[in-house]
Symmetry: C2
């Protein structure tokens, strides 16, 4: 690396994403100092204990003091209040970004609190695991993943370039798009799949004639992939669905329509339709592997295939 | 191992499951000889080339000649015809089993062809990957996985015990249940999740406002787990849905009902309901990890977490 991109980075919220950012920033030397804070005393205690951040402050106001980059890494529903609390302490010329999974709602909740002379560049790293909390972060989380930035028109290009350099320094590829398109793309690639996985796991848990213990024992037949997705942080996901309501409901509507067509093919015994459908979906998987966004190893490499 | 469980095993169909069985049987010395055959000349050629099976025959009749275990490992829809073709050549006292993903339909299609004096014990190893074909097998596929046997009442216990010993020798745990319960359990743990994954991938492919290339690039946000499931063998899955129609449609009906309830919570902004639902589904994931049916490593261990 060619040295720090920012002088002082403030991480607000210390969950999976912020803690991974800290380890990645430290590893690549992307900031002179990283200050962190979290709402819960327990999280701050854990952070101090494991050396997460150079300095952990008790309040958001202290954390952002003198920072040239502030990263909002709290659930989307909490961002407006945090932005309001920190606004008076933001340094002129600083950049505020976030890592929330929806962007239009963040623009609307945070934008009005950003003072003149401070850059606001919402962002979203498409990376994560089903784990959460300050202990779940690791430096390579963003390696070869995408980070989407959604600057409003008129944002200073230098400020965007600097934030981009930070993400690239942490191993990510960066792309820019507008907030509404982001929310639609994510509804397809993330929000609808999560809701569907949550639903299927809920159904399995509810059935009387199949016990939970059977579901758990026999999950390797496909179900367990859903349970990983459905184990993600409940607060984060509640906020995602409440704040990306329209796009998620639109995609779920399309999904239901399509599911009904497939159910009908099953009911009427239309094997040709099913076979053609299943053949088409295989090609998408191939594209994802070729794009380097997943492994071709069977079962994601869960199994060792050496005979 | 304490020596061969069977003298000669005949594998009919040489895809992922049968080829894994061959490598597992050979590794553990569970049979003196394994004979294999497949409908397609190309598959038989590949098998001979890579040393899959001790002997590859061109016909089913030759393959089952003198075998004391015959394993039907063809798509469920093809099992009746294969059973009819081989029936006259089955040795008295032999056992016929299968590895199909549905069991009632196999009992009905294969059962009537089984001659007096031959044991018929349908089975289903809950193991697989998204890959298929004779080159996709490996010896450890069944390690710590479940194999369900569904013997009809009155089946000779010794014959069941012997088949159980074979599966245990290949590393699997064995459980017995009746065919209808099997089909319901699998509708929940496998068939409905697969149809749902196929559907979601189909929807993503269909949208005009989000390009395939965007879906592929940004798949790490959740979608890629669906694409792995939706990359499974189209013929096998067509047959599964056509032959486990009732249970699959029942579970899909429950799923749709539940999905509508969650959609309604999103539309009305019922955050409490969503949070409670997402919290409940997390517990199931924990159960699966504790039962040893998945890894706790983030993203199934796709990522290296050493900071």
């Amino acid at each position: 690396m060619s040295g720090p991109v920012y002088d002082r980075v403030a991480l607000i919220g210390l969950g999976l994403i912020a803690s991974s950012m800290f380890w990645a920033i430290r590893k690549a030397g992307l900031a002179r100092e990283v200050v962190g804070t979290a709402r819960s005393a327990e999280t701050r205690e854990t952070a101090r204990e494991i050396g997460l951040c150079d300095r952990v402050t008790d309040t958001v106001a202290e954390a952002v003091e003198g920072a040239d980059l502030v990263v909002l890494a709290v659930p989307v529903g909490a961002m407006g209040a945090v932005a309001e609390a920190m606004a008076p302490r933001l340094a002129p010329g600083a950049t505020v970004t976030d890592v929330g999974s929806v962007k239009r709602a963040v623009v609307e909740a945070v934008g009005p609190h950003i003072p003149e002379g401070v850059h606001f560049i919402p962002g979203h790293p498409l990376a994560g695991t089903e784990h959460s909390g300050p202990r779940s972060g690791f430096a390579t989380l963003f390696d070869n993943r995408w980070c989407l930035l959604v600057p409003e028109p008129g944002t200073e290009p230098e400020a965007v370039a600097r934030l981009r350099a930070l993400w690239e320094g942490m191993g990510a590829h960066v792309e820019e798009m507008d907030a509404d398109h982001h929310d639609l793309v994510l509804a397809v690639t993330s929000h609808a799949p999560h809701l569907i996985a949550y639903t299927m796991v809920g159904v399995a848990d509810d059935l009387r004639r199949v016990t939970d213990s059977e579901v758990i024992k026999y999950s390797a037949a496909g179900f367990r992939d859903f349970t990983r997705i459905a184990a993600s942080d409940p607060t984060m996901w509640r906020d995602v669905f409440l704040t990306n309501k329209d796009a998620t409901l639109e995609i779920l509507g399309r999904f239901t329509e399509e599911l009904f067509a497939l159910q009908r093919a099953i009911r009427t015994g239309d094997g040709e339709m099913l076979h053609a459908y299943f053949t088409r979906t295989r090609a998408i998987r191939r594209g994802i592997i070729e794009a380097g966004q997943d492994t071709d190893a069977p079962d994601f490499g869960r199994v060792k295939t050496g005979a």
